[in-house]
Every structure is written in structure tokens, then in C-alpha cells.
């Protein structure tokens, strides 16, 4: 069977270079999927593992079971009523309809809901999961139907086959995902990050206590991220971690002020470092060409001006 098709193989090659064979390989242990969109933006998705997918499956299973039981109960009532009024044919029709409903729930529930609701079933919606194509595009009708027909193989021995495939194939893809070229991702609703540091309430460090070093933008972003998520950690643990950064920064900055601040209130120190320098970084961002020495001079001038006002 001549399967070689030059156009197709070119797609394959460009595929590999655009999704980046290298990041994929280097991140093979990570649960993040990186894809590049036609707008040349890198998007990262968090892949959904077997556990959360099993829970979503259980929800779907209960819903499917409920629909079938409801069909039986409602059908039995309607059929017995219709059987008295119309005759035995009505009972037969309702039994036939029951089989058709059972078939649809059995084989088409997943495929149809995934193609109609952009890669979601009710169970997946509950757990914030979505099926997308590996290249990031929404799932197609055929893709959705295909990945769910192959369930017939995945579900053998209580989804043992699918589970092993997930572990072996990478990206938590079961056999159906491999054929249909899909992955299941976790979506989270994220709100605009709140301002973790309310600048008005934090006074900058005294410039006289500082040397000439200006922390990099990355460091400031790290401080901001860390402080923004400080409530995730217990007080002591959070401060212990902040102390590492605070001590290193204090040393680098030649901080000559209160050492108690660095040791006992490292988070406060970091916040004050941020308050001191975030303005400086802005100027640097505006004019990347300026030399570090000039920036340093400028920041000193600013500090002096700050001291006067």
C-alpha cells in the first residue's frame, strides 16, 4: 500500500519543528503541553492525568446510568398507560425505543457531547477537563467519534489497556487519543492577578543603605509572584523560604540598614526592595539601550529626589 505522500510528510516535519521536538523531549516528564499557534504565540496546557479523568468518567457513568434508568422508568409508565389505551404495539415501540436509547448512551454519549460541546462531556466539565487536538485546535466530529469508538479496546480489563497506554505513550494519551490525535487538558479559570504589593503602604528602602546594584526585572517579578502567593504557605515556611532570597539580595545590595528586618521579616524586606526598584525597571524598559552605569546614576538621583520630598 503506497502510503507515502510528500505533502503529508512535509506537514509532519513542520509539525515537529513548530511544536518543538526539543521542548517536548526535555519536558517529557512534565505535565505541560506547549504548542505554537498560527499567531506565533506559545500556549501551555496542563495535561490531565489518569486520576482526574477516571473521576470525570465516573460522573459520566453515573449520568449515563441515570439516563438509562430514567428511560426504563418513564418508558414503563408510558408504555403501561399506552398499552391500555392503544394496545400492545405501543409497549413494543417503547421497548424498541429503550434499546435505541441504550445504544446511543452506550456508544454515542461521549463522541456526541465532545463534538457538540467543544471537547467536553458533563463529567469533564465538572472537573474542568477538555479534549483538544494535539496541535491545540478544537476537536472535530470524526476525531471525537473515533477516540470514543476505540474505547472498545481501551476499556478492556476495566480500562487496564487504556491506563497502560497512558503511561507508555506519554502525554497521558490512551489508545483512542493516539488514533484521533487528541489530548485531554485541564482548564482552570484564572482571574487577573491581584496587586500583591500595595505600593502606597510600603515605604522604599533608604537609598543611603544600598549599594549600586539594581536587581534584574526577573528578580522583581519573582518577588511579586512569591508575595502574591504567600498565603499558600504557612507563615513560618513562607518566611523561611523568603529569608533565603532576602539574605542573598541583602548581600548583593550591600544593604547596610536594619539586619533584623532581613532576618525576622524577610517578606517585608522583599516588599520594600520591590517598592524601591520597580520604578527603576520601568525606566530601563522604556529605554533598553541605556547603559547599566547610567541607570545606576539615575536611580541614585531618584533616591536623592525621594529623600528630599
Amino acid at each position: 500500500m503506497p502510503d507515502w505522500n510528500p505533502v503529508r510528510s512535509q506537514c509532519m516535519l513542520s509539525d515537529m519543528s513548530s511544536t518543538g521536538a526539543t521542548p517536548e523531549r526535555s519536558l517529557s516528564i512534565s505535565t505541560e503541553l506547549v504548542i505554537e499557534t498560527p499567531e506565533n504565540v506559545l500556549l501551555t496546557y496542563r495535561l490531565a492525568g489518569p486520576a482526574v479523568r477516571l473521576m470525570a468518567y465516573c460522573v459520566d457513568f453515573l449520568i449515563r446510568g441515570a439516563i438509562i434508568i430514567a428511560a426504563i422508568v418513564v418508558g414503563a409508565f408510558v408504555a403501561s398507560a399506552a398499552g391500555i389505551l392503544i394496545g400492545p404495539t405501543a409497549i413494543s415501540i417503547s421497548v424498541g425505543l429503550y434499546f435505541v436509547i441504550f445504544f446511543i448512551i452506550d456508544w454515542a454519549y461521549f463522541g456526541l457531547s465532545e463534538s457538540c460541546f467543544r471537547g467536553k462531556t458533563i463529567g469533564k466539565h465538572v472537573f474542568g477537563l477538555r479534549v483538544i487536538q494535539e496541535q491545540g485546535y478544537p476537536i472535530t466530529l470524526w476525531g471525537a467519534v473515533l477516540r470514543n469508538f476505540v474505547r472498545a479496546a481501551d476499556s478492556l480489563s476495566f480500562y487496564g489497556v487504556g491506563f497502560i497506554a497512558m503511561l507508555v505513550a506519554g502525554k497521558f494519551r490512551r489508545l483512542g487519543d493516539l488514533v484521533a490525535r487528541t489530548v485531554v487538558i485541564e482548564e482552570r479559570r484564572v482571574s487577573v492577578p491581584r496587586e500583591p504589593i500595595i505600593l502606597e503602604k510600603i515605604e522604599p528602602l533608604e537609598r543611603t543603605d544600598l549599594g549600586g546594584f539594581v536587581p534584574a526585572g526577573q528578580t522583581l517579578a519573582l518577588i511579586e509572584d512569591f508575595l502574591g502567593r504567600r498565603h499558600v504557605l504557612p507563615y513560618r515556611r513562607g518566611h523561611a523560604m523568603a529569608r533565603v532570597l532576602a539574605q542573598a539580595l541583602a548581600k548583593r545590595l550591600d544593604y547596610g540598614g536594619d539586619s533584623e528586618l532581613v532576618e525576622r521579616y524577610p517578606m517585608a524586606f522583599l516588599a520594600r526592595v520591590y517598592a524601591t526598584f520597580h520604578q527603576t525597571r520601568e525606566d530601563e524598559d522604556l529605554d533598553e539601550s541605556r547603559s547599566p552605569a547610567e541607570i545606576r546614576r539615575k536611580s541614585r538621583r531618584q533616591a536623592a529626589a525621594g529623600a528630599v520630598t
Binding site: 506565533n40 501551555t44 404495539t89 415501540i93 424498541g96 491545540g136 485546535y137 489497556v161 509572584d225
Partner: protein, 337 residues
């Protein structure tokens, strides 16, 4: 630009985009007004730019993941495949499915050889020695089948002398027909789709299911004929058998396409071969499911009806011809692009 000023400046656009996305969760992009569509597309591109900017400036993971989330949701909504219409469905059955079937006819022939081969062989053996049937199909089930055909034979004979009895019995049969139709749809299509889906296990699942069904069908057929109900049995199966048996083999062929892609991927990698052939295989399998729905209707409403056997054989022969003509010619009028 300062991060804070940037956020303050861009946040309204982000919030607006989020609003549009929330609306897209409930309605499709096509229902947007032209102005909204234009706005959505413009905001989407702006957000892509914002995301790249924030990534390159290292402005923190919180902001990146926020925008990443928005852009990926937008991406998902924006590049959505156009929805299928009834026209697509009709075209698929009228042309698309037979075309794909012919393109991959080798797999069908292999599956048909396995299925009809086992069916024929078992049939011949059991008809020769009906005692063996008990080893394949449970005895009570065989009794049930035999009873079924014996009764309908007796009924037929009796009904020819007695007009009112015939009407009553025919009505008795009528009662069950819709229920049987539903059952045939559920049962037969499940077998066909199992046959297809399990093909991904290197084709072993498909071959196993084909052989299993071939043996059971062959054993039952051979047993019933050996017991002397051949006229009743053959006139019953000849019409729907056309769609039913061929569709099982078609689904088996689709399953073998999946397995074949893994065993013999040709010039592609195994995964790539699986994807390319999988897309064709699923369409063939869905075509087989549609054929089985037709078969179920025939089996429930036509096959058990009290029509003279000669008519049933004639119609059955025409159905076989129809299946062959459909699969071999439908869609040929379309020019290959």
C-alpha cells in the same frame, strides 16, 4: 512600559475578551454579530501580542498563566471546525463512505475472508454433524432457535387453512417488531463497533471478534438447517443478511485498518500511519453502522412477515445486488480532486 501601568491599560480589553468568551460558551461564533466577530478577532490578536510581551519581559507566572488561559480559550473558540450539516451527512452516505470503502477495499476483503471463511466452514461442519453445535452454542439457546423456526413453520401451515388465525398470528408478530428493531440496532451495531474499536490491538481484537461471530453464526445456521427448517430459515435471513453480514465485514475491515497501521505502517511512523488511516477507518465504521441500522429495520419488519418465500428470495437477491452496487459504484460520479 511598567508592568502595573501595562495591566491597568490592558485589563479592560482582557475583561471584554473574557466576556465574549463566556458568551461563546453558550452560543457559537456564527451567532455573533459582525461587529462582535470583528471585535473578538481583534482582541484575540491583541491578547496574543500581550502574552508574547509578558513572556519576553518575565512579568511573572501569575500574569502569564492568566493570559495563557484566555488565549487558549480564545484559540479553542476561534479555530472551531465548522459544524456538520444534514447535507454533509447525506453526502457522506451517498458518496463519501463508498468512496473511502473502495479506497481501502483490501482491508475489507481480508476481513470478509476471515468472517465468511469461518462462517462457511463452521456452517458446513455443523450441518454435516449437528451434534457438534452443542459445543459452540449453549444447548438451551439452540432449542430456542429451533423452537422459533418450528413454530413459525407450523404457524405458516396452519394459517393457510385458517384466515382469521392467520390475521391474529400476524398481528401477534407485529407487536414485537418495533421492540425487535430496537434490539437489533443495539445488538448488531455494538458487535460491529466492538469489532472496529478493538482493531487497534494490532488487529487481534478485530480478527478475534470476526472469528467468534463467524463461528456462532455458522454453527446456529448449520444446526437449524440440519434440523430441517431450511426454507423458513433461509427466507428469513436472505434479505437483511445482505446489509448485516456485509456491514460486519466492513466494520472488520475498518478495524484491520487500525491494526494494519501498527503492523505495517508503510513509509510513515506507526503513530502517524495510525492517525492518517484512523480518520478514514472511523468513517468506514460509521458507514457500517448506518448499514446495520438499515439491516435492523429489514430484519424486524420485512424478514418475519408472512410474505411468500419466493418473493422474499427475489427481494433478498435484489438487496444483495443493491449492496454490491452501492458499495462499488456510489460516489464514482464525483471527480477526484
Amino acid at each position: 512600559m511598567n508592568k502595573r501601568r501595562f495591566i491597568a491599560q490592558r485589563a479592560p480589553a482582557w475583561r471584554r475578551f473574557e466576556q465574549l468568551l463566556d458568551r461563546l460558551d453558550t452560543i457559537s461564533l456564527r451567532r455573533f454579530s459582525p461587529a462582535e466577530t470583528a471585535e473578538f478577532s481583534r482582541l484575540f490578536r491583541e491578547l496574543c501580542y500581550d502574552l508574547s510581551l509578558i513572556r519576553s519581559r518575565d512579568w511573572g507566572r501569575g500574569l502569564v498563566s492568566f493570559l495563557n488561559n484566555l488565549v487558549s480559550r480564545g484559540h479553542n473558540a476561534f479555530y472551531r471546525a465548522p459544524p456538520g450539516t444534514l447535507g454533509h451527512f447525506v453526502h457522506f452516505l451517498a458518496a463519501g463512505f463508498p468512496q473511502l470503502f473502495r479506497k481501502n477495499i483490501g482491508y475489507f476483503l481480508a476481513a470478509a475472508a476471515v468472517f465468511f471463511g469461518t462462517l462457511g466452514a463452521t456452517w458446513a461442519i455443523i450441518q454435516h454433524d449437528p451434534a457438534l453445535a452443542g459445543r459452540i452454542v449453549p444447548a438451551e439457546q439452540l432449542d430456542m432457535f429451533e423452537q422459533m423456526y418450528k413454530e413459525s413453520n407450523a404457524e405458516r401451515r396452519k394459517s393457510s387453512d385458517n384466515q382469521s388465525g392467520r390475521r391474529r398470528r400476524a398481528q401477534g408478530f407485529d407487536e414485537y417488531r418495533p421492540a425487535m428493531a430496537g434490539m437489533y440496532v443495539q445488538h448488531n451495531t455494538s458487535i460491529a463497533l466492538d469489532t472496529f474499536g478493538r482493531g487497534i490491538l494490532f488487529g487481534v481484537g478485530t480478527v478475534y471478534t470476526l472469528i467468534e461471530n463467524g463461528i456462532v453464526l455458522g454453527a446456529t445456521s448449520g444446526y437449524i438447517i440440519a434440523k430441517g427448517h431450511s426454507a423458513q430459515f433461509l427466507s428469513f435471513v436472505v434479505t437483511h443478511g445482505s446489509f448485516e453480514l456485509v456491514a460486519i465485514a466492513v466494520a472488520g475491515g475498518a478495524g484491520l485498518m487500525l491494526g494494519g497501521a501498527l503492523v505495517h505502517p508503510g513509509q510513515r511512523s506507526r503513530l502517524e500511519a495510525l492517525r492518517v488511516r484512523g480518520l478514514e477507518a472511523i468513517q468506514i465504521a460509521c458507514g457500517a453502522a448506518a448499514m446495520l441500522a438499515v439491516a435492523a429495520l429489514i430484519e424486524a419488519f420485512w424478514s418475519p412477515s408472512a410474505i411468500p418465500n419466493a418473493v422474499k428470495y427475489a427481494v433478498g437477491g435484489m438487496m444483495w445486488l443493491l449492496v454490491v452496487v452501492y458499495l462499488s459504484t456510489a460516489g464514482r460520479w464525483e471527480k477526484k480532486s
